[in-house]
């Protein structure tokens, strides 16, 4: 079985796995990183969203062999110790999660959106987030949280540039 040299949340990890094993299950079952969730295994619900070189990517159909040498970020790598990512902060301020199962994927998709688009419109949010299903129906809360995160990113950018 091949061994892969991975970069996950800025750390190097070595893992031995079948080449076709999806990144989702490598994370969950081999590396004990269970923040990334299994929802459908078919790229339909995006609960398994991670970042591959900064791009939001669903990991349930992503063979481990395809990410060697690339940089992976998961929900566990989003906050810096006790300092939360601005999107996580907005999720708390807007009281978004209900059951919470899809939220790591939602947050990873929202972060990727905001990294590219500092001030997304509702349509931009629809386009970036329609892949992520939430059966608790927190969509309006998610929309508000993304707008809030965008506003606080703008506010902190202003603070930094006098």
């Amino acid at each position: 079985m091949p061994t892969y040299d991975l970069s996950i949340n800025g750390k190097r990890r070595k893992v031995t796995a079948p080449a076709e094993m999806p990144v989702l299950w490598v994370l969950r079952d081999l590396l004990n990183m269970t923040g990334t969730k299994f929802g459908c295994g078919a790229g339909q619900c995006r609960a398994c969203t991670v970042h591959v070189d900064g791009e939001a990517t669903f990991s349930c159909q992503l063979p481990i062999s395809s990410v060697a040498g690339k940089s992976l970020t998961t929900i566990e790598g989003l906050s810096n110790g006790s300092t939360l990512h601005v999107v996580q902060r907005a999720w708390i301020d807007e009281d978004v999660p209900q059951c919470g199962y899809c939220q790591p994927g939602q947050i990873m998709s929202a972060c990727a959106l905001l990294a590219k688009n500092k001030s997304p419109s509702d349509t931009d949010i629809d386009d970036a987030m329609r892949g992520n299903i939430c059966r608790c129906g927190t969509y309006n809360f998610i929309r508000r949280a993304i707008h809030r995160a965008a506003e606080s990113m703008v506010a902190s950018a202003k603070k930094e540039t006098p």
Partner: protein, 697 residues
């Protein structure tokens, strides 16, 4: 013992703490000394920790927050001081399931009493220590204060206080003095959930644990005829292949190996129902429909129909529905000779414990049930079937086993919301007011397949007629009948149960009749609800919020529906358009009367959630049957509402102050009829079958 994720699952005292409150970080540092149990619901540690043992599971509906608010209120502490654990399975909690939107209605009084009792016991301990009368001691800010500036923290008093005789009737806090109950309050479990640290059933890891993926009969009611495990066992990581009552389990080091092993497994099945189709089921319902037992009768509907000025007959149909929670079914069990341990995302600690005891041949108390967070439940996780499988797998292998369902397994596993065929007739008098209403229902029975609530007693399943037999409208002649269909497709409780069917059927037929009689849907309802003050209030509130009577935006129309379920009454008004041949729900105004309010934020969140859930069913949801199996397999062919289809939702609380009603389910039933009634207003055509398919003309 759980090997991973100390941050969310901590060993403490006798149980595993689901540290999900704002006390999370503090809870991480060190497992506190075993804290004394004051009663079934509360533990206060010498380290000042206050732990609520929640008798209910947290599946998104917000009970950990609401219950913590009740504890904090009565104990006079900040909400952030209350940590939460899901209580272990224990018959002393009564029928221990989380369902029927009953946590607050059933637990509010007992939890207040338990918390007030703990407060008085703490005061009693302080009084004894200070040798002062107990009346001179009071609780404030997590301390007992006494005369002369005396003060002691709960932690200091806890060991002594648990020995104080619990008061038979502790004095409850005056509701007027509430500072927390009734105030919008943020959830206590959000931090863990946004960090990916909340432990769901799927995340459980036990030392030595293996993962099983089970091959089950492709059609309902099938059994294993024979199987060949050779190819499955050749898959790297596969350890064992064992037969269990529901199929053949491939047991492996991890999910991927187990799933790959199952794909290689060869099983031949004995399938007695392989010919079953939706068409055959439909024919069976048609044949049963006129033969139902009378569930409700008033006046003489037949006579009134004969002499009516106008009449209308309509057939309404709804399909089977899957729950499709985001977390697919899964459970972990470890069966040993003398005990069985279970870790599961379950709504049913009591039934799970009973079922496992039976499977293992152990007394009930030898089965421990630890409940994780649930990645959605919606009723499905009140069934024990998936937990039973984990117990069987562990029993067969002697190892701790996590059974994981794929999404396709989850859809195929049945326990659907029942389908139903309905035929209604209505009669109007010369002024256009309804004088007769008959409603025939043919549907499978949920209670026939369970011992819950004593199982099915008599010919009528009360869950099948809820919302139909108790139609609130003042119509002098009514008859409702129910015919039970026996089908191999299993059915189960689904968010709002029979009301999810009957609100649609009755509220849409009502609009058809109102239209025939030339009445405005709101006016007609208000008149026929003269004796239902609470219904009228929510109806008026929803109508006002949506702007009823004012022109709708160009190309859009409005519809309304009201329904009582689980002790709460909800009216929803929808503004709907048709864009590019598809139904577009623009806005939903929702008014809810749940009696008394614990957390307004939870109520608003649950209303939104329930509306979206109802819209998913109305616009998309359908499980159809072919070759004895479900046609739909995953979110490709069982679409649900996504963010771009989610309407703006505005919720108004109009609490009557009556007894607490439920809040997790009652928002679902009015969603479909509000939308369908808007489409009737928009197109002039009724939609008598769900999911909504627009007429092609």
């Amino acid at each position: 013992m759980l090997a991973v994720n100390r941050r969310t699952f901590l060993k403490a005292g006798s149980g595993f703490v689901l540290a999900c409150s704002l006390g999370l970080e503090r809870a991480l540092e060190a497992a506190p000394a075993p804290a004394p149990d004051f009663n079934l619901f509360l533990r206060i540690g010498s380290d000042d920790s206050i732990t609520l043992l929640s008798p209910s599971s947290e599946m998104g509906q917000g009970v950990l927050t609401s219950l913590s608010m009740i504890v904090a209120e009565e104990l006079e502490v900040e909400l952030s001081r209350v940590r939460t654990e899901i209580a272990p399975a224990d018959p002393r909690y009564g029928f221990q399931i989380t369902g029927g939107s009953q946590t607050i209605p059933s637990r509010y009084p007992s939890l207040r009493t338990a918390s007030a009792a703990a407060r008085e016991m703490l005061a009693g301990a302080a009084a004894a220590e200070w040798k002062v009368p107990a009346e001179q001691c009071r609780a404030e800010g997590g301390k007992i204060l006494g005369p002369g500036g005396k003060s002691a923290t709960y932690g200091k008093l806890a060991a002594r206080a648990v020995k104080v005789k619990p008061p038979a009737a502790p004095r409850l806090k005056d509701e007027k003095a509430f500072t927390l109950i009734g105030q919008p309050t943020k959830r206590v479990d959000t931090l863990a959930k946004v960090k990916g640290e909340a432990t769901f059933g799927m995340d459980v890891k036990v030392p030595g644990m293996l993962t099983a993926v089970v091959a089950r009969s492709p059609s309902f009611g099938g059994k294993v005829k024979s199987f060949d495990a050779a190819k499955a066992k050749a898959v790297p990581g596969v350890r064992q292949v064992v037969q269990i009552p529901t199929g053949v389990a491939v047991v492996a080091d991890h999910f991927w190996a187990a799933k790959t092993g199952r794909e290689a497994l060869e099983v031949s099945w004995d399938e007695p129902n392989a010919e079953l189709s939706s068409a055959a089921i439909q024919a069976q319902l048609e044949q049963l429909l006129p033969k139902g037992a009378v569930a409700h009768k008033m006046g003489d509907a037949d006579k009134a129909l004969q002499s009516a000025a106008k009449k209308l007959e309509a057939t309404y149909e709804v399909p089977f529905l899957a729950h499709a929670a985001m977390e697919p079914l899964n459970a972990t069990a470890h069966v040993r000779k003398d005990r069985c341990e279970i870790w599961a995302p379950t709504q049913s600690q009591g039934p799970v414990q009973e079922a496992a005891a039976k499977i293992c041949g152990l007394p009930r108390e030898s089965v421990s049930v630890r409940t994780t967070f649930l990645g959605g439940g919606f009723g499905r996780k009140a069934h024990t079937d998936y937990v039973d499988e984990a117990v069987h797998c562990s029993k067969a292998t002697g190892k701790p086993i996590k059974v994981v369902y794929t999404r396709e397994d989850d859809f195929a596993a049945g326990q659907y919301r029942p389908l139903a065929l309905n035929r209604l007739t209505g009669a109007l008098d010369a002024q256009g007011w309804p004088v007769a209403w008959t409603h025939q229902i043919a549907s499978p029975s949920i209670l026939a397949g369970t011992s819950f609530f004593g199982g099915l007693q008599g010919p009528i399943d009360p869950t099948s007629i809820e919302g139909a037999a108790n139609l609130p409208y003042a119509i002098p002649n009514m008859r409702v009948t129910y015919a039970k269909a026996d089908l191999p497709v299993s059915v189960w409780f689904w968010r709002s149960v029979g009301s999810s069917i009957n609100a649609y059927v009755t509220e849409c037929f009502f609009d058809e009749l109102a239209r025939l009689g030339g009445k405005d849907p709101v006016e007609a309802r208000l008149k026929l609800l003269a004796n239902h003050r609470r219904h009228r209030r929510v109806l008026e509130a929803a109508a006002e919020k949506i702007g009823w009577g004012k022109p709708a935006p160009s190309g859009a129309a409005r519809g309304i529906a009201v329904h009582e379920s689980f002790g709460s009454i909800v009216a929803e008004a929808a503004e709907v358009a048709i864009e590019k041949g598809e139904v577009r729900v623009l806005r939903v105004a929702c008014a809810v009367d749940c009696g008394k309010v614990v957390n307004p934020s939870t109520i608003a969140a649950q209303m939104e959630s329930a509306v979206i859930y109802g819209l998913s069913a109305a616009l998309h949801g359908e499980i159809s049957i072919d070759k004895g199996r479900p046609v739909q397999q995953t979110f490709y062919d069982y679409p649900v509402i996504r963010i771009d289809q989610a309407p703006k939702i505005e919720t108004v609380l109009v609490p009557s102050g009556d007894a607490h009603g439920g809040i997790g389910e009652p928002g679902t039933p009015p969603a479909a009829p509000a939308v369908v009634n808007a489409l009737l207003a928009l197109t002039g055509k009724p939609i008598r079958k769900l999911p909504i398919r627009l007429p092609t003309t």
